[in-house]
């Protein structure tokens, strides 16, 4: 094997080990923080999904696919869901006052 190839292979191995072993060296330190971050991200994604649906329902109403009564009922429910998600995000301190 060419010395340069040996060197490059060793470099690849070393870089791989550094990248992969990093979290193991840090151990449990980030665990709680990560759990919170993940929960917040999940709630934020759910909130975005509700927002998308609210906009979709409104567009369906404006383009004549939904009656006003149906739209209002759907919109009310979706907004209540979204508000609940915001409340839970607040509980986790995810939204600044």
């Amino acid at each position: 094997m060419d010395p340069l190839e040996v060197l490059l292979t060793l470099l690849a191995v070393a870089l791989t080990v550094v990248v992969i072993a990093g979290p193991l060296r840090r151990g449990h330190r980030d665990r709680e923080e990560t759990a919170l971050t993940v929960r917040i991200a999940d709630l934020a994604a759910a909130k975005e999904a509700r927002y998308r649906e609210i906009r979709d329902a409104e567009m369906d109403y404006r383009t004549g696919k939904l009656t006003e009564r149906d739209w209002r009922a759907i919109d009310r429910q979706l907004r209540a869901d979204a508000a609940e998600l915001l409340r839970r995000l607040d509980e986790l301190g995810a939204r600044d006052a």
Partner: protein, 728 residues
């Protein structure tokens, strides 16, 4: 270079195996740091495979024939443009491309979802790394692209001439991007099923990757069709070839999935169906790779054969078994949250469209595998041709175009008849007008084509109407000018209006398919110089004279070209000149090939002459009659063999050059008859235009939206919702 390449692929295998172990251990033990380490292993894997792929590309570009794969798939005369593409024309290179793309997409999705789906992620990592282990193991133990030859030859065998087409630069990477991207939602679906978290979260997290898979696979299929049309010399763009079908299968089920997940997102329905669809799509993507790589079915697209069949069969069986187990054991959590409220609803239309798409996939699957099924049952390998496919595909395609129109116009949950009347009145009128306009042109002679045109007019009218109504609503809300309202409308509702654009493109594309296949004129004729042949639609061609030339690359003969000069006339009036050709590529890397015969015994490709237009394509291909030439070649070979070693090398080479020149020139002076395939195909261009509209729509859907999660609010929650919605 070979050692470094092998070391990198081996390291990639080790990293992938570690990734599986760390992800599963982290999930089972609750030690999150191992999952993070596994996620980082995907980044490392992407880095390693990128390095390996770059190394292989460099070897091809430098014509490093010490690597067997470079020697067998490239040559010094191969143009640089195609040297870069030659890497994935080989079995080994294409598998490395697969691994590289998979690792890059895996790293990307796991980076983007690093703070989401904490419980699902470890299993998704394990599945993605499992695929990587499979392909890395093939590269390490079965078909290494870095296998070195004992002695580096001075010249390579060369790239298969059929692959020397610009589409072929992009076709395989696009196709493989599609295949590998399907692995992402597949892996997250498996993870979601394992942890029994089957809400729409995994769908939302991987939606863009599913759309990306659909987009890239679609572009790959289109490029393949374009290549078939302009390179294969038979005049068509789709032959129901097994490899073509293999790419269509996951695209069809994937299209169904992209629609049906919306039902799950909005209504919590079709969970079992969606899980089954994506598991089937992921499996079909592997099946597609298997069909190309194994050579198990005869195909014009399978450029490699090998002994990879059994490993792939094992993987596919494993995927089917695991998918079946997961879906059947999670029936309790996969139950729908709601029932279908009405058959006149968007979700009912999506369900119908899914049934049609899956029906199409089943037809294509049955037709593709019928040779194997018939061989297993009767011992006789029988194939099903285009007429069989047309019998089932055409009615399903008609239904699909109809649903493409109806779907966007219907509301979720329950549409009223009054709404439906309002939504369909203008489109139905457009369809009737289309029929009345087309009938006087004799389209009624092809009732199925007429029906498709009418349905396409209906679907296009619905699409246009949706945009008009959307712009009108937007203007009513904001008072914006029409162009600005249009842009805002699409920008704020990318998924919806991107989807409508795709539907418009589908209708346009089907118009092109129906017109070109129903009203095509095809003629195979043998003409001598001076003779004329009618083509149809008032077109005729006159064979003026034969043409010939030698194409050189880096001072060596790349190919000998024999063709024809045709004068194209419409109703007796000259409208252009066509120059179809056939290129003969010399056998490379075979020192004992006959000195003159090697220029005729290798591969030959057709270079079609195409006069493309919005209304119709005039397409011609030529098969030169070189039988007389081959007699001279045989005599010449005997003489050159006898002279070898008896005359100085320089004189031998000069004589050989003169002989080749003489042979090429004699074709034009003797002017033998040639066989031509002549086609007049109406509206082929609309297939490509429709496809471009489809992909433009897909890009609109894929384009990222502003991240509202980062926005902040201060007042009450209901007000916050209203405020944040107002900012979108």
């Amino acid at each position: 270079m070979a050692d470094l390449g092998r070391a990198l692929t081996f390291l990639a295998l080790v990293v992938a195996v570690y990734g599986i172990g760390a992800a599963l251990y982290g999930a089972r033990s609750g030690r999150r740091e191992y999952v993070t380490s596994a996620r980082r292993a995907t980044y490392a894997l992407a880095g390693l495979t990128t390095a390996a792929f770059v190394l292989l590309e460099v070897a091809f570009l430098r014509s490093d024939f010490s690597l067997e794969v470079v020697w067998s798939h490239s040559s010094t005369t191969t143009p640089t443009f195609y040297k870069a593409a030659a890497a994935w024309s080989s079995q080994e290179g294409s598998l490395l491309l697969w691994l590289w793309l998979l690792s890059v997409w895996s790293a990307l999705v796991l980076f983007l979802t690093r703070f989401r789906m904490r419980d699902v992620q470890p299993y998704a990592i394990a599945v993605l790394m499992g695929f990587s282990v499979f392909f890395a193991a093939l590269l390490v133990f079965k078909v290494s692209p870095f296998k070195a030859l004992p002695v580096a030859p001075v010249e390579g065998v060369g790239l298969n001439p059929l692959l020397r087409h610009p589409s072929m630069m992009a076709h395989p990477p696009m196709l493989y991007s599609g295949y590998t991207l399907w692995a992402i939602p597949f892996a997250f679906a498996v993870g979601a099923l394992i942890v029994r978290r089957v809400d729409a979260e995994w769908i939302v997290a991987t939606r863009r990757f599913a759309l990306g898979a659909w987009f890239f696979l679609g572009v790959g299929i289109l490029l393949g069709a374009r290549w078939s049309y302009s390179e294969l010399g038979w005049g068509g763009y789709w032959a129901w070839d097994p490899v073509e079908n293999a790419s269509l299968l996951p695209w069809l089920t994937g299209t169904a999935f992209i629609h049906s997940v919306m039902v799950q997102e909005k209504r919590g329905m079709l969970k079992t169906w969606n899980a089954s669809l994506i598991l089937a799509t992921g499996t079909l993507a592997i099946l597609g790779t298997f069909l190309v790589r194994s050579g198990i079915l005869d195909s014009i697209h399978a450029f490699t054969g090998g002994d990879l069949g059994w490993p792939f069969v094992g993987l596919i069986c494993g995927m089917i078994a695991a998918s079946t187990y997961l879906v059947t054991t999670r029936r309790d959590v996969l139950r729908s949250e709601h029932r279908l409220d009405s058959l006149l609803s968007r979700e009912a239309m999506f369900l119908a469209n899914n049934l049609v798409l899956v029906g199409l996939a089943f037809v294509v699957f049955w037709g593709t595998f019928f040779p194997l099924i018939s061989e297993a049952l009767t011992g006789d390998k029988q194939s099903l041709g285009p007429p069989w496919y047309d019998k089932y595909v055409v009615p399903l395609a008609l239904l699909l175009v109809l649903l493409t129109g109806i779907g966007p116009a219907i509301a979720w949950r329950r549409a009223t008849w009054a709404n439906a009347r309002r939504a369909f009145m203008v489109p139905v009128l457009a369809a009737v007008v289309a029929a009345l306009v087309l009938l006087p042109f004799g389209v009624g002679g092809q009732p199925l084509a007429l029906l498709l045109f009418v349905l396409a007019a209906f679907a296009i009218a619905i699409g246009v109407q949706e945009f008009v109504r959307g712009v009108r609503a937007r203007r009513a809300m904001t008072g914006e000018a029409a162009p600005l309202a249009f842009v805002s409308l699409v920008r704020r509702n990318r998924r919806r209006y991107g989807g409508y654009i795709v539907h418009l493109g589908i209708a346009v594309m089907f118009v092109g398919v129906a017109a070109s296949s129903s009203f095509q004129h095809v003629r195979d004729v043998r003409l001598s110089p001076g003779q004329t042949a009618k083509m149809g639609n008032g077109y005729s061609v006159r064979y003026d004279r034969p043409t010939s030339r030698i194409d050189l690359s880096r001072g060596d003969v790349e190919r000998l070209v024999f063709g024809a000069r045709l004068t194209l006339s419409k109703d007796g009036k000259k409208v252009g000149v066509l120059l179809p050709e056939r290129g003969y590529y010399p056998i490379q890397g075979a020192p004992f090939a006959p000195p003159l015969g090697r220029y005729f015994d290798g591969e030959s490709t057709s270079e079609v002459a195409l006069r493309a237009g919005v209304g119709r394509d005039i397409w011609t291909a030529v098969s030169p009659d070189i039988s007389q030439l081959l007699k001279t070649v045989k005599v010449g070979d005997d003489r050159f063999k006898a002279a070898q070693g008896k005359i100085p090398d320089a004189q031998y080479a000069e004589s050989l050059g003169l002989a080749i020149r003489g042979l090429v020139d004699s074709y034009t002076t003797k002017a033998p008859p040639a066989t031509f395939r002549l086609l007049v195909s109406p509206m082929v261009a609309w297939i490509w235009i429709g496809s471009l509209i489809i992909f433009a729509g897909a890009l609109v859907c894929l384009w990222p939206t502003a991240d509202l999660a980062r926005r902040r609010a201060t007042a009450g929650y209901a007000a916050d919702v209203a405020r944040e919605l107002g900012r979108a």
